[in-house]
Symmetry: C2
Subunit: 281 residues, 2 copies
Protein backbone atom coordinates (compact mmCIF):
# COMPACT_ATOMS: atom_id res chain seq x y z
CA UNK A 1 0.00 0.00 0.00
CA UNK A 2 2.83 2.38 0.80
CA UNK A 3 6.16 2.82 -0.88
CA UNK A 4 7.62 5.01 1.86
CA UNK A 5 8.73 3.79 5.26
CA UNK A 6 6.24 4.37 8.09
CA UNK A 7 6.54 3.87 11.84
CA UNK A 8 3.38 2.37 13.28
CA UNK A 9 2.71 2.40 16.96
CA UNK A 10 0.90 -0.54 18.51
CA UNK A 11 -1.32 0.79 21.29
CA UNK A 12 -1.25 -1.51 24.29
CA UNK A 13 -4.67 -0.54 25.65
CA UNK A 14 -6.63 -0.17 22.46
CA UNK A 15 -6.20 -2.84 19.84
CA UNK A 16 -7.02 -1.97 16.27
CA UNK A 17 -5.80 1.63 16.16
CA UNK A 18 -2.38 3.10 15.59
CA UNK A 19 -0.69 6.38 14.89
CA UNK A 20 1.41 6.04 11.74
CA UNK A 21 4.31 8.43 11.14
CA UNK A 22 6.18 8.58 7.87
CA UNK A 23 9.91 8.16 8.43
CA UNK A 24 12.66 9.87 6.47
CA UNK A 25 15.44 7.94 8.11
CA UNK A 26 16.07 5.63 11.02
CA UNK A 27 18.83 7.31 13.00
CA UNK A 28 19.51 4.81 15.77
CA UNK A 29 18.38 1.46 17.11
CA UNK A 30 19.55 -0.48 20.14
CA UNK A 31 18.31 -2.85 22.78
CA UNK A 32 19.33 -1.54 26.18
CA UNK A 33 19.25 -3.62 29.34
CA UNK A 34 15.59 -2.59 29.81
CA UNK A 35 13.99 -1.79 26.49
CA UNK A 36 14.20 -1.37 22.73
CA UNK A 37 15.20 2.21 21.82
CA UNK A 38 14.73 3.60 18.31
CA UNK A 39 15.31 7.07 16.93
CA UNK A 40 13.75 8.27 13.66
CA UNK A 41 13.72 11.40 11.58
CA UNK A 42 10.02 11.77 10.79
CA UNK A 43 8.41 13.79 8.00
CA UNK A 44 5.84 15.58 10.16
CA UNK A 45 7.26 15.88 13.69
CA UNK A 46 11.05 16.17 13.43
CA UNK A 47 13.11 13.64 15.34
CA UNK A 48 11.19 11.04 17.36
CA UNK A 49 12.26 8.33 19.77
CA UNK A 50 10.31 5.29 20.82
CA UNK A 51 10.72 2.79 23.66
CA UNK A 52 9.51 -0.73 22.94
CA UNK A 53 7.68 0.61 19.88
CA UNK A 54 5.75 3.32 21.77
CA UNK A 55 6.27 6.98 20.83
CA UNK A 56 7.97 8.85 23.69
CA UNK A 57 9.21 12.17 22.35
CA UNK A 58 8.86 14.07 19.11
CA UNK A 59 10.59 17.40 18.65
CA UNK A 60 7.35 18.99 17.41
CA UNK A 61 4.98 18.25 20.26
CA UNK A 62 7.04 17.23 23.32
CA UNK A 63 6.28 20.62 24.91
CA UNK A 64 2.61 19.66 25.31
CA UNK A 65 3.60 16.81 27.58
CA UNK A 66 6.62 18.22 29.39
CA UNK A 67 4.98 21.51 30.31
CA UNK A 68 1.82 19.84 31.52
CA UNK A 69 3.43 17.11 33.62
CA UNK A 70 5.49 19.81 35.37
CA UNK A 71 3.84 23.18 35.86
CA UNK A 72 0.49 22.29 37.46
CA UNK A 73 2.28 20.76 40.46
CA UNK A 74 5.02 23.39 40.64
CA UNK A 75 2.47 26.24 40.45
CA UNK A 76 0.20 24.66 43.08
CA UNK A 77 2.95 24.01 45.65
CA UNK A 78 3.60 27.23 47.62
CA UNK A 79 7.38 26.91 47.59
CA UNK A 80 8.77 23.99 45.60
CA UNK A 81 12.48 23.76 46.43
CA UNK A 82 13.26 20.06 46.22
CA UNK A 83 12.00 17.97 43.29
CA UNK A 84 12.36 14.28 42.45
CA UNK A 85 11.78 13.31 38.84
CA UNK A 86 11.30 9.62 38.06
CA UNK A 87 12.07 8.38 34.57
CA UNK A 88 12.30 11.34 32.22
CA UNK A 89 15.89 10.59 31.20
CA UNK A 90 15.29 12.61 28.06
CA UNK A 91 15.52 15.76 30.19
CA UNK A 92 12.25 17.40 29.17
CA UNK A 93 10.81 17.55 32.68
CA UNK A 94 14.10 18.87 34.08
CA UNK A 95 14.00 21.70 31.54
CA UNK A 96 10.48 22.69 32.64
CA UNK A 97 11.07 22.35 36.39
CA UNK A 98 14.13 24.62 36.13
CA UNK A 99 11.87 27.41 34.87
CA UNK A 100 10.79 27.79 38.51
CA UNK A 101 13.38 29.93 40.31
CA UNK A 102 12.32 28.54 43.73
CA UNK A 103 13.66 25.11 42.82
CA UNK A 104 17.02 24.56 44.51
CA UNK A 105 17.67 20.92 43.75
CA UNK A 106 16.41 18.26 41.35
CA UNK A 107 17.11 14.56 41.54
CA UNK A 108 16.48 12.69 38.32
CA UNK A 109 16.10 8.95 38.94
CA UNK A 110 16.19 7.13 35.59
CA UNK A 111 16.58 3.38 35.37
CA UNK A 112 18.04 3.36 31.85
CA UNK A 113 21.14 5.48 31.24
CA UNK A 114 20.84 4.76 27.52
CA UNK A 115 17.79 7.05 27.39
CA UNK A 116 19.92 9.89 28.77
CA UNK A 117 22.68 9.20 26.22
CA UNK A 118 20.25 9.06 23.30
CA UNK A 119 18.56 12.28 24.31
CA UNK A 120 21.87 14.11 24.73
CA UNK A 121 22.91 12.96 21.26
CA UNK A 122 19.70 13.42 19.26
CA UNK A 123 17.47 15.81 21.27
CA UNK A 124 19.65 18.69 22.45
CA UNK A 125 16.69 21.02 22.93
CA UNK A 126 15.04 18.52 25.28
CA UNK A 127 18.17 17.40 27.18
CA UNK A 128 19.86 20.82 27.33
CA UNK A 129 19.54 21.28 31.10
CA UNK A 130 20.63 17.82 32.25
CA UNK A 131 24.05 19.30 33.06
CA UNK A 132 22.63 22.13 35.18
CA UNK A 133 24.37 22.26 38.60
CA UNK A 134 21.00 22.01 40.37
CA UNK A 135 20.46 18.56 38.80
CA UNK A 136 21.72 15.30 40.30
CA UNK A 137 21.29 12.28 38.04
CA UNK A 138 20.78 8.91 39.71
CA UNK A 139 20.79 5.86 37.45
CA UNK A 140 18.69 3.47 39.48
CA UNK A 141 15.28 1.85 39.74
CA UNK A 142 13.08 4.50 41.37
CA UNK A 143 10.98 1.81 43.03
CA UNK A 144 14.00 0.94 45.17
CA UNK A 145 15.40 4.46 45.43
CA UNK A 146 12.20 5.91 46.89
CA UNK A 147 12.08 3.35 49.70
CA UNK A 148 15.01 5.07 51.44
CA UNK A 149 13.50 8.52 51.34
CA UNK A 150 11.57 10.26 54.10
CA UNK A 151 10.06 13.76 53.81
CA UNK A 152 12.72 14.90 51.39
CA UNK A 153 10.80 16.33 48.44
CA UNK A 154 8.27 19.07 47.80
CA UNK A 155 7.26 17.63 44.45
CA UNK A 156 7.68 14.22 42.82
CA UNK A 157 6.98 13.87 39.09
CA UNK A 158 6.76 10.38 37.62
CA UNK A 159 7.30 10.53 33.87
CA UNK A 160 6.98 6.84 33.16
CA UNK A 161 6.42 4.69 30.13
CA UNK A 162 3.22 2.64 29.94
CA UNK A 163 2.58 0.24 32.84
CA UNK A 164 4.13 -2.78 31.16
CA UNK A 165 7.80 -3.77 31.38
CA UNK A 166 10.18 -1.75 33.56
CA UNK A 167 7.56 0.85 34.57
CA UNK A 168 4.99 -1.61 35.91
CA UNK A 169 5.92 -1.07 39.55
CA UNK A 170 5.44 2.69 39.23
CA UNK A 171 1.69 2.13 39.08
CA UNK A 172 1.37 -0.05 42.17
CA UNK A 173 -0.09 0.97 45.52
CA UNK A 174 3.23 0.42 47.31
CA UNK A 175 4.96 2.94 45.11
CA UNK A 176 2.30 5.57 45.84
CA UNK A 177 2.67 4.85 49.58
CA UNK A 178 6.43 5.26 49.34
CA UNK A 179 6.06 8.51 47.41
CA UNK A 180 3.76 9.83 50.12
CA UNK A 181 6.45 9.03 52.72
CA UNK A 182 9.16 10.63 50.60
CA UNK A 183 7.23 13.89 50.31
CA UNK A 184 7.28 16.72 52.83
CA UNK A 185 4.04 17.76 54.53
CA UNK A 186 2.95 20.01 51.70
CA UNK A 187 4.11 17.58 49.03
CA UNK A 188 2.60 16.86 45.62
CA UNK A 189 2.99 13.79 43.40
CA UNK A 190 2.16 13.80 39.69
CA UNK A 191 2.23 10.61 37.62
CA UNK A 192 1.66 9.85 33.95
CA UNK A 193 -1.75 8.15 33.83
CA UNK A 194 -2.69 7.29 30.25
CA UNK A 195 -5.63 8.40 28.09
CA UNK A 196 -9.21 8.53 29.34
CA UNK A 197 -10.35 7.64 25.84
CA UNK A 198 -8.39 4.40 25.59
CA UNK A 199 -7.58 3.28 29.13
CA UNK A 200 -10.64 3.82 31.34
CA UNK A 201 -10.16 0.58 33.25
CA UNK A 202 -6.53 1.36 33.96
CA UNK A 203 -7.45 4.82 35.25
CA UNK A 204 -10.28 3.48 37.40
CA UNK A 205 -7.82 0.92 38.74
CA UNK A 206 -5.28 3.57 39.72
CA UNK A 207 -7.94 5.55 41.56
CA UNK A 208 -9.28 2.46 43.33
CA UNK A 209 -6.00 0.96 44.43
CA UNK A 210 -4.44 4.18 45.64
CA UNK A 211 -7.50 5.35 47.57
CA UNK A 212 -6.78 6.99 50.91
CA UNK A 213 -3.06 7.57 50.43
CA UNK A 214 -3.36 11.24 49.49
CA UNK A 215 -6.14 13.53 50.78
CA UNK A 216 -6.37 15.20 47.36
CA UNK A 217 -6.34 13.08 44.22
CA UNK A 218 -7.40 14.44 40.83
CA UNK A 219 -6.91 13.71 37.16
CA UNK A 220 -6.03 16.21 34.47
CA UNK A 221 -4.94 16.04 30.85
CA UNK A 222 -2.94 17.53 28.04
CA UNK A 223 -3.57 17.34 24.32
CA UNK A 224 -0.67 15.91 22.28
CA UNK A 225 -1.09 14.75 18.68
CA UNK A 226 1.45 11.91 18.56
CA UNK A 227 0.26 10.13 21.70
CA UNK A 228 -2.47 7.52 21.29
CA UNK A 229 -5.92 9.19 21.09
CA UNK A 230 -4.32 12.66 21.00
CA UNK A 231 -4.50 13.18 24.73
CA UNK A 232 -2.81 11.86 27.84
CA UNK A 233 -3.68 12.32 31.48
CA UNK A 234 -1.95 12.63 34.82
CA UNK A 235 -2.86 11.89 38.42
CA UNK A 236 -2.38 14.83 40.75
CA UNK A 237 -1.88 13.51 44.30
CA UNK A 238 -1.47 16.06 47.04
CA UNK A 239 -1.09 16.08 50.83
CA UNK A 240 -2.63 19.50 51.30
CA UNK A 241 -2.94 21.78 48.30
CA UNK A 242 -5.74 21.59 45.75
CA UNK A 243 -4.65 22.34 42.17
CA UNK A 244 -7.98 23.97 41.38
CA UNK A 245 -8.10 26.21 44.46
CA UNK A 246 -4.48 26.86 45.35
CA UNK A 247 -2.91 27.88 42.04
CA UNK A 248 -0.29 30.59 42.53
CA UNK A 249 -1.44 32.83 39.71
CA UNK A 250 1.34 35.37 39.94
CA UNK A 251 4.16 32.82 39.94
CA UNK A 252 2.51 30.99 37.05
CA UNK A 253 2.23 34.17 35.03
CA UNK A 254 5.93 34.93 35.50
CA UNK A 255 7.06 31.69 33.84
CA UNK A 256 9.02 32.21 30.63
CA UNK A 257 9.24 30.30 27.34
CA UNK A 258 5.92 28.48 27.59
CA UNK A 259 4.14 27.17 24.53
CA UNK A 260 1.25 25.31 26.18
CA UNK A 261 0.75 26.09 29.88
CA UNK A 262 -1.02 29.15 31.25
CA UNK A 263 -3.18 29.79 34.30
CA UNK A 264 -6.24 29.35 32.07
CA UNK A 265 -4.96 26.02 30.76
CA UNK A 266 -4.15 24.94 34.33
CA UNK A 267 -7.80 25.35 35.34
CA UNK A 268 -9.21 23.96 32.08
CA UNK A 269 -7.04 20.82 32.25
CA UNK A 270 -8.92 19.57 35.32
CA UNK A 271 -12.32 19.84 33.61
CA UNK A 272 -13.15 16.44 32.19
CA UNK A 273 -15.71 15.31 29.61
CA UNK A 274 -18.86 13.94 31.24
CA UNK A 275 -18.27 10.29 30.26
CA UNK A 276 -15.00 10.15 32.23
CA UNK A 277 -16.48 11.11 35.59
CA UNK A 278 -17.18 7.50 36.53
CA UNK A 279 -13.49 6.61 36.21
CA UNK A 280 -12.41 8.83 39.08
CA UNK A 281 -14.33 7.46 42.02
CA UNK B 1 4.03 -5.65 7.85
CA UNK B 2 0.35 -6.33 8.53
CA UNK B 3 -1.74 -9.31 7.67
CA UNK B 4 -5.02 -7.67 8.68
CA UNK B 5 -6.83 -5.00 6.69
CA UNK B 6 -6.33 -1.45 7.95
CA UNK B 7 -7.95 1.83 6.93
CA UNK B 8 -5.39 4.61 6.76
CA UNK B 9 -6.44 8.20 6.64
CA UNK B 10 -4.38 10.62 4.59
CA UNK B 11 -4.37 13.97 6.38
CA UNK B 12 -4.71 16.83 3.92
CA UNK B 13 -3.01 19.45 6.08
CA UNK B 14 -0.23 17.41 7.64
CA UNK B 15 1.69 15.10 5.38
CA UNK B 16 3.48 12.17 6.94
CA UNK B 17 0.99 11.24 9.64
CA UNK B 18 -2.11 9.10 9.59
CA UNK B 19 -4.59 7.47 11.89
CA UNK B 20 -4.77 3.78 11.08
CA UNK B 21 -7.85 1.76 12.05
CA UNK B 22 -8.01 -1.98 11.79
CA UNK B 23 -11.02 -3.06 9.75
CA UNK B 24 -13.11 -6.17 10.34
CA UNK B 25 -15.18 -5.73 7.22
CA UNK B 26 -15.91 -3.19 4.52
CA UNK B 27 -19.68 -2.75 4.64
CA UNK B 28 -20.31 -0.34 1.79
CA UNK B 29 -18.53 1.65 -0.90
CA UNK B 30 -19.89 4.03 -3.50
CA UNK B 31 -19.02 7.13 -5.41
CA UNK B 32 -21.83 9.64 -5.07
CA UNK B 33 -22.20 12.70 -7.28
CA UNK B 34 -19.97 14.61 -4.86
CA UNK B 35 -17.63 12.25 -3.05
CA UNK B 36 -16.38 8.75 -2.33
CA UNK B 37 -18.34 7.19 0.57
CA UNK B 38 -17.08 4.11 2.44
CA UNK B 39 -18.45 2.33 5.48
CA UNK B 40 -16.36 -0.04 7.59
CA UNK B 41 -16.80 -2.18 10.65
CA UNK B 42 -13.67 -1.31 12.65
CA UNK B 43 -12.10 -3.28 15.48
CA UNK B 44 -11.75 -0.40 17.92
CA UNK B 45 -14.51 2.13 17.18
CA UNK B 46 -17.51 0.22 15.83
CA UNK B 47 -18.87 1.27 12.47
CA UNK B 48 -17.10 4.14 10.72
CA UNK B 49 -17.79 6.07 7.55
CA UNK B 50 -15.36 8.14 5.53
CA UNK B 51 -15.83 10.71 2.79
CA UNK B 52 -13.02 10.90 0.22
CA UNK B 53 -10.86 8.83 2.57
CA UNK B 54 -11.29 11.12 5.59
CA UNK B 55 -12.90 9.74 8.78
CA UNK B 56 -16.28 11.42 9.39
CA UNK B 57 -18.12 9.38 12.00
CA UNK B 58 -17.29 6.46 14.22
CA UNK B 59 -19.91 5.01 16.54
CA UNK B 60 -17.52 5.16 19.48
CA UNK B 61 -16.51 8.81 19.49
CA UNK B 62 -19.02 10.77 17.35
CA UNK B 63 -20.55 12.21 20.52
CA UNK B 64 -17.39 14.24 21.17
CA UNK B 65 -17.91 16.09 17.92
CA UNK B 66 -21.68 16.30 17.69
CA UNK B 67 -22.21 17.54 21.23
CA UNK B 68 -19.48 20.14 20.93
CA UNK B 69 -20.46 21.57 17.55
CA UNK B 70 -24.03 22.00 18.90
CA UNK B 71 -24.38 22.86 22.58
CA UNK B 72 -22.01 25.83 23.01
CA UNK B 73 -24.04 27.88 20.51
CA UNK B 74 -27.44 26.64 21.69
CA UNK B 75 -26.56 27.31 25.34
CA UNK B 76 -25.21 30.80 24.59
CA UNK B 77 -28.20 31.97 22.54
CA UNK B 78 -30.94 33.18 24.92
CA UNK B 79 -33.80 31.54 23.02
CA UNK B 80 -32.80 29.40 20.04
CA UNK B 81 -35.99 28.56 18.17
CA UNK B 82 -34.92 28.35 14.53
CA UNK B 83 -31.77 26.45 13.54
CA UNK B 84 -30.09 25.87 10.18
CA UNK B 85 -27.67 22.96 9.98
CA UNK B 86 -25.37 22.80 6.97
CA UNK B 87 -23.92 19.45 5.93
CA UNK B 88 -24.42 16.96 8.77
CA UNK B 89 -26.51 14.58 6.68
CA UNK B 90 -25.57 11.84 9.13
CA UNK B 91 -28.03 13.37 11.61
CA UNK B 92 -25.69 13.74 14.59
CA UNK B 93 -26.13 17.50 14.92
CA UNK B 94 -29.90 17.20 14.53
CA UNK B 95 -29.97 14.72 17.42
CA UNK B 96 -28.07 17.14 19.67
CA UNK B 97 -29.99 20.29 18.68
CA UNK B 98 -33.29 18.53 19.44
CA UNK B 99 -32.17 18.14 23.06
CA UNK B 100 -33.02 21.84 23.43
CA UNK B 101 -36.77 22.16 24.02
CA UNK B 102 -36.78 25.80 22.84
CA UNK B 103 -35.98 24.70 19.29
CA UNK B 104 -39.13 24.79 17.17
CA UNK B 105 -37.74 24.15 13.71
CA UNK B 106 -34.56 22.78 12.15
CA UNK B 107 -33.59 22.98 8.51
CA UNK B 108 -30.91 20.53 7.48
CA UNK B 109 -29.25 21.56 4.22
CA UNK B 110 -27.12 18.67 2.94
CA UNK B 111 -25.71 18.64 -0.58
CA UNK B 112 -25.35 14.86 -0.81
CA UNK B 113 -28.47 12.79 -0.15
CA UNK B 114 -26.34 9.65 -0.22
CA UNK B 115 -24.86 10.65 3.15
CA UNK B 116 -28.37 10.71 4.62
CA UNK B 117 -29.17 7.29 3.12
CA UNK B 118 -25.95 5.74 4.37
CA UNK B 119 -26.43 7.09 7.88
CA UNK B 120 -30.02 5.86 8.05
CA UNK B 121 -28.87 2.41 6.98
CA UNK B 122 -25.68 1.97 9.01
CA UNK B 123 -25.80 4.51 11.87
CA UNK B 124 -29.29 4.37 13.39
CA UNK B 125 -28.14 5.89 16.68
CA UNK B 126 -26.75 8.93 14.85
CA UNK B 127 -29.56 9.37 12.30
CA UNK B 128 -32.43 8.47 14.63
CA UNK B 129 -33.99 11.96 14.74
CA UNK B 130 -33.85 12.83 11.04
CA UNK B 131 -37.54 11.96 10.80
CA UNK B 132 -38.57 14.22 13.70
CA UNK B 133 -41.45 16.51 12.68
CA UNK B 134 -39.40 19.59 13.68
CA UNK B 135 -36.82 18.71 11.00
CA UNK B 136 -37.04 19.79 7.36
CA UNK B 137 -34.44 18.22 5.09
CA UNK B 138 -33.28 20.23 2.10
CA UNK B 139 -31.00 18.46 -0.38
CA UNK B 140 -29.17 21.40 -1.87
CA UNK B 141 -25.86 23.25 -1.91
CA UNK B 142 -25.97 25.43 1.21
CA UNK B 143 -23.84 28.08 -0.50
CA UNK B 144 -26.77 28.77 -2.83
CA UNK B 145 -29.53 28.08 -0.29
CA UNK B 146 -28.24 30.64 2.21
CA UNK B 147 -28.21 33.45 -0.37
CA UNK B 148 -32.03 33.60 -0.30
CA UNK B 149 -32.28 33.86 3.47
CA UNK B 150 -32.65 37.01 5.53
CA UNK B 151 -32.87 37.11 9.35
CA UNK B 152 -34.45 33.66 9.52
CA UNK B 153 -32.30 31.74 11.97
CA UNK B 154 -31.20 32.02 15.58
CA UNK B 155 -28.34 29.58 15.12
CA UNK B 156 -26.50 28.23 12.07
CA UNK B 157 -24.22 25.22 12.50
CA UNK B 158 -21.89 24.30 9.64
CA UNK B 159 -20.79 20.70 10.00
CA UNK B 160 -18.64 20.52 6.88
CA UNK B 161 -15.97 18.23 5.55
CA UNK B 162 -12.47 19.62 5.09
CA UNK B 163 -12.16 22.72 2.87
CA UNK B 164 -11.38 20.80 -0.30
CA UNK B 165 -13.95 19.49 -2.77
CA UNK B 166 -17.65 20.23 -2.21
CA UNK B 167 -17.09 22.06 1.10
CA UNK B 168 -14.55 24.59 -0.18
CA UNK B 169 -17.08 27.41 -0.52
CA UNK B 170 -18.20 27.01 3.10
CA UNK B 171 -14.91 28.54 4.21
CA UNK B 172 -15.02 31.64 2.02
CA UNK B 173 -15.73 35.19 3.17
CA UNK B 174 -18.89 35.41 1.05
CA UNK B 175 -20.43 32.45 2.83
CA UNK B 176 -19.77 34.02 6.24
CA UNK B 177 -21.35 37.28 5.00
CA UNK B 178 -24.42 35.40 3.79
CA UNK B 179 -24.71 33.55 7.10
CA UNK B 180 -24.60 36.86 8.93
CA UNK B 181 -27.49 38.10 6.77
CA UNK B 182 -29.44 34.88 7.30
CA UNK B 183 -29.20 35.18 11.09
CA UNK B 184 -31.53 37.18 13.29
CA UNK B 185 -30.13 40.02 15.41
CA UNK B 186 -29.02 37.75 18.23
CA UNK B 187 -27.76 35.05 15.87
CA UNK B 188 -24.81 32.72 16.28
CA UNK B 189 -22.85 30.82 13.60
CA UNK B 190 -20.61 27.86 14.41
CA UNK B 191 -18.39 26.24 11.77
CA UNK B 192 -16.06 23.26 11.75
CA UNK B 193 -12.58 24.79 11.70
CA UNK B 194 -9.92 22.05 11.73
CA UNK B 195 -7.14 21.30 14.23
CA UNK B 196 -4.89 23.95 15.73
CA UNK B 197 -2.11 21.37 15.85
CA UNK B 198 -2.15 20.60 12.13
CA UNK B 199 -3.80 23.52 10.35
CA UNK B 200 -2.57 26.79 11.90
CA UNK B 201 -2.35 28.57 8.55
CA UNK B 202 -5.87 27.57 7.63
CA UNK B 203 -7.19 28.82 10.97
CA UNK B 204 -5.28 32.10 10.73
CA UNK B 205 -6.68 32.46 7.22
CA UNK B 206 -10.28 32.01 8.40
CA UNK B 207 -9.80 34.64 11.09
CA UNK B 208 -8.14 37.08 8.69
CA UNK B 209 -10.55 36.77 5.81
CA UNK B 210 -13.72 36.91 7.90
CA UNK B 211 -12.63 39.86 10.02
CA UNK B 212 -15.33 42.40 10.79
CA UNK B 213 -18.33 40.30 9.77
CA UNK B 214 -19.28 39.26 13.31
CA UNK B 215 -18.63 41.43 16.41
CA UNK B 216 -17.71 38.31 18.41
CA UNK B 217 -15.46 35.66 16.85
CA UNK B 218 -13.78 32.97 18.92
CA UNK B 219 -12.29 29.52 18.49
CA UNK B 220 -12.94 26.50 20.68
CA UNK B 221 -12.18 22.80 20.48
CA UNK B 222 -13.22 19.29 21.30
CA UNK B 223 -11.06 16.22 21.82
CA UNK B 224 -11.88 13.27 19.56
CA UNK B 225 -9.51 10.31 19.13
CA UNK B 226 -10.24 9.36 15.52
CA UNK B 227 -9.86 12.85 14.05
CA UNK B 228 -6.39 13.89 12.94
CA UNK B 229 -4.28 15.05 15.91
CA UNK B 230 -7.02 13.97 18.35
CA UNK B 231 -8.68 17.37 18.46
CA UNK B 232 -10.78 19.54 16.18
CA UNK B 233 -11.83 23.16 16.52
CA UNK B 234 -14.76 25.36 15.68
CA UNK B 235 -15.24 29.05 14.99
CA UNK B 236 -17.90 30.68 17.15
CA UNK B 237 -19.23 33.77 15.33
CA UNK B 238 -21.84 35.83 17.11
CA UNK B 239 -23.75 39.06 16.52
CA UNK B 240 -24.21 39.85 20.18
CA UNK B 241 -23.67 37.08 22.73
CA UNK B 242 -20.28 36.03 24.05
CA UNK B 243 -19.95 32.28 24.68
CA UNK B 244 -17.66 32.87 27.64
CA UNK B 245 -19.84 35.50 29.35
CA UNK B 246 -23.38 34.66 28.28
CA UNK B 247 -23.67 30.94 28.92
CA UNK B 248 -27.14 30.01 30.19
CA UNK B 249 -25.99 27.77 33.01
CA UNK B 250 -29.39 26.55 34.08
CA UNK B 251 -30.53 25.57 30.60
CA UNK B 252 -27.21 23.84 29.99
CA UNK B 253 -27.50 21.86 33.21
CA UNK B 254 -30.96 20.62 32.26
CA UNK B 255 -29.75 18.92 29.06
CA UNK B 256 -30.16 15.15 29.07
CA UNK B 257 -28.12 12.26 27.66
CA UNK B 258 -24.81 14.08 27.40
CA UNK B 259 -21.51 12.21 27.34
CA UNK B 260 -19.13 15.11 26.71
CA UNK B 261 -20.64 18.58 27.19
CA UNK B 262 -21.14 20.32 30.53
CA UNK B 263 -20.99 23.93 31.67
CA UNK B 264 -17.43 23.29 32.83
CA UNK B 265 -16.44 21.84 29.46
CA UNK B 266 -18.15 24.80 27.73
CA UNK B 267 -15.85 27.25 29.51
CA UNK B 268 -12.73 25.07 29.26
CA UNK B 269 -13.17 24.54 25.51
CA UNK B 270 -12.45 28.22 24.81
CA UNK B 271 -9.14 28.14 26.70
CA UNK B 272 -6.40 27.53 24.16
CA UNK B 273 -2.79 26.42 24.56
CA UNK B 274 -0.37 29.35 24.49
CA UNK B 275 1.15 28.54 21.07
CA UNK B 276 -2.21 28.90 19.33
CA UNK B 277 -2.88 32.49 20.40
CA UNK B 278 -1.16 33.95 17.37
CA UNK B 279 -3.57 32.14 15.02
CA UNK B 280 -6.61 34.07 16.23
CA UNK B 281 -5.74 37.68 15.48
Amino acid sequence: MRSEEWFEEAVEFKKGVSTALQVQKKLHSEKSKYQQIDVYETVAFGKMFSLDGVIMVTEADEFCYHEMISHPALCTHPNPRSVLIVGAGDGGVVREVLKHPEVEGIELCEIDEKVIEISKKFFPHVSKDLGNPKVKIVVQDAIEYIKEKHKEYDVIIVDSTDPVGPAEGLFKRDFFINCEKALKDEGILVTQAESFFYDPQFISGIFEKTRGIFPVMKYYYTMIPTYASGTIGFTFCSKKHDPEKDLHEERARKLQDLKYYSTGIHRAAFVMPVFTKKFFK
